[in-house]
């Protein structure tokens, strides 16, 4: 168990270091995310629909797209120079490669979200500070679910034709249940409802995370073995 986590940490560090040195993928994802927020702002009639009515949907649709874009690159960078083969030859378990990739993707998406959230609050005039704690909890729970399934699927689609198209088609049906719960919770939080009203959704999100992280850790070795 300790070896698995140590190897996972090494994979995670390698991915983030590559990301840090190039920064292209990160900057593109960030700019894309901000642009989606802008598109939403202009995609509504401001005299008919107040920003707060749309805010939960805007936040979550933006995060879903951001996660999808980030996931496309996770294994893409392993394709160059057959880096994936090198990674698979390393004397570490396949599950730890998955966990490392999962961690790196989570860090990537988390940084994008950390920058996008204040911008969202600014653009849509939403006071997120009073509900920041619970909101961050929802964001963590939902993002773990998104990225757990997405990391598994992105490992599969990179070796298919039309990888960038196929990932959203396969992934979106899996993202919709956590998306529903996250939007419900966020709407209640913004409306100032007590936490007890959202506990059920949070539990569902946690259950989804546990089930899919476990399932993906078991299934990932199947997708990369030769």
């Amino acid at each position: 168990m300790r070896d698995t986590l140590r190897a996972a940490w090494l994979v995670l560090r390698k991915d983030l270091m590559l990301e840090w040195r190039a920064r292209t993928a990160f900057l593109s994802t960030l700019v894309f995310t901000v642009l989606v927020l802008l598109v939403f702002n202009f995609g509504r009639d401001p005299t008919a629909i107040g920003p707060l009515d749309l805010a939960p949907s805007v936040l979550w649709v933006t995060f879903t797209f951001a996660a999808m874009l980030a996931l496309n690159r996770a294994f893409q960078l392993e394709l160059e120079n057959q880096a994936l083969d090198g990674l698979l030859l390393a004397p570490v378990s396949r599950s730890s490669i998955y966990l490392g990739k999962l961690g790196a993707n989570l860090a990537f998406v988390a940084v994008v979200q950390a920058i996008a959230l204040p911008l969202f609050a600014l653009f849509f005039n939403v006071d997120v500070v009073p509900v920041l704690g619970p909101l961050l909890a929802v964001m963590v729970l939902a993002t773990v679910g998104f990225v757990a399934v997405g990391t598994l699927f992105s490992a599969m689609v990179i070796r298919t034709r039309f990888a960038e198209l196929l990932l959203p088609v396969l992934l979106l049906p899996f993202l919709i249940p956590p998306l529903i719960w996250a939007v419900m919770t966020t709407a209640k939080l913004f409306a100032g409802r007590p936490l007890s009203e959202v506990a059920g959704w949070l539990r569902l999100l946690a259950a989804y995370d546990i089930v899919f992280v476990a399932l993906a850790t078991v299934l990932f070795p199947v997708t990369v073995s030769e």
């Binding site: 689609v157 070796r159 298919t160 196929l166 396969l170 249940p177 569902l204 989804y208 199947v222 997708t223």
Partner: protein, 223 residues
């Protein structure tokens, strides 16, 4: 070749029986009091939904068995079941709104079962798209097994996420803890139709399986 021939006989027989079910449903089953003739679509809609669920469940089971036993027959079966399931889910998704419009006054509502079946349809489509996008037969089998298992695990979550929504769709009337509340003749017609749709599923899957066998023989296999 044998699978195709047997499957063809079963499908042919089931189609004849299906005509019989229509005759029984239209002429020998009482007309429902409040819905009138519109309710007759029930005898197609519910069995199609049953065949779709059966197809999805068996794709999941075959995927698990394939990863455990590495036997190509399970992969072929899963692919066949997914294709046939897509057809049945289309029948269900088209007969549903046709029934919903006159009775509910709306073509579509975001109810638990409607949403669940729409997801089933998209899972089937995604599964078939993934299969068509992988050229290596060994990879294709493993990837689609992974997706099949994930889909099976996803279904209860979709069900949970939409279960609490307001609904227009009727509550279960046959498979429920108390005795079925469907009148006798209607229940018999429904059960006949479910049996015929199950036969159709078996016949179609056998034909599709036979085609997959022929295709695999002509296509070199990579590990």
């Amino acid at each position: 070749m044998n699978h195709i021939r047997v499957g063809r006989w079963i499908s042919g027989g089931a189609l004849v029986l299906l005509a019989g079910v229509y005759v029984r449903a239209l002429a020998f089953t009482p007309v429902e009091r409040s819905q009138g003739l519109a309710q007759k679509i029930f005898y197609v809609h519910v069995p199609a939904a049953w065949a779709t669920m059966l197809a999805m469940g068996l794709v999941g089971v075959a995927s698990i068995l394939f990863l455990m036993l590495k036997d190509d027959r399970f992969d072929r079966f899963a692919a066949s079941s997914a294709e046939v399931g897509t057809a049945f889910s289309l029948v269900m998704l088209t007969t549903g709104p046709m029934w919903g419009k006159p009775i509910w006054g709306t073509w579509w509502t975001w109810d638990a079962r409607l949403t669940l079946t729409l997801f089933l349809f998209f899972l089937f489509i995604g599964y078939l798209l993934l299969r068509s996008a992988v050229t290596d037969a060994g990879l294709r089998a493993r990837y689609s097994a992974v997706l099949g298992i994930c889909g099976l695990v996803l279904l209860p979550f979709i069900h949970l996420s939409v279960y609490f929504f307001r609904t227009l769709h009727p509550q279960p009337i046959v498979l429920k803890p108390s005795a079925p509340s469907l009148p006798g003749p209607m229940l018999v017609t429904l059960l006949c139709s479910v049996t015929v749709f199950t036969l159709l599923y078996v016949g179609f899957v056998m034909q599709r399986y036979g085609i997959a066998v022929v295709r695999d023989e002509s296509e070199p296999h990579h590990g």
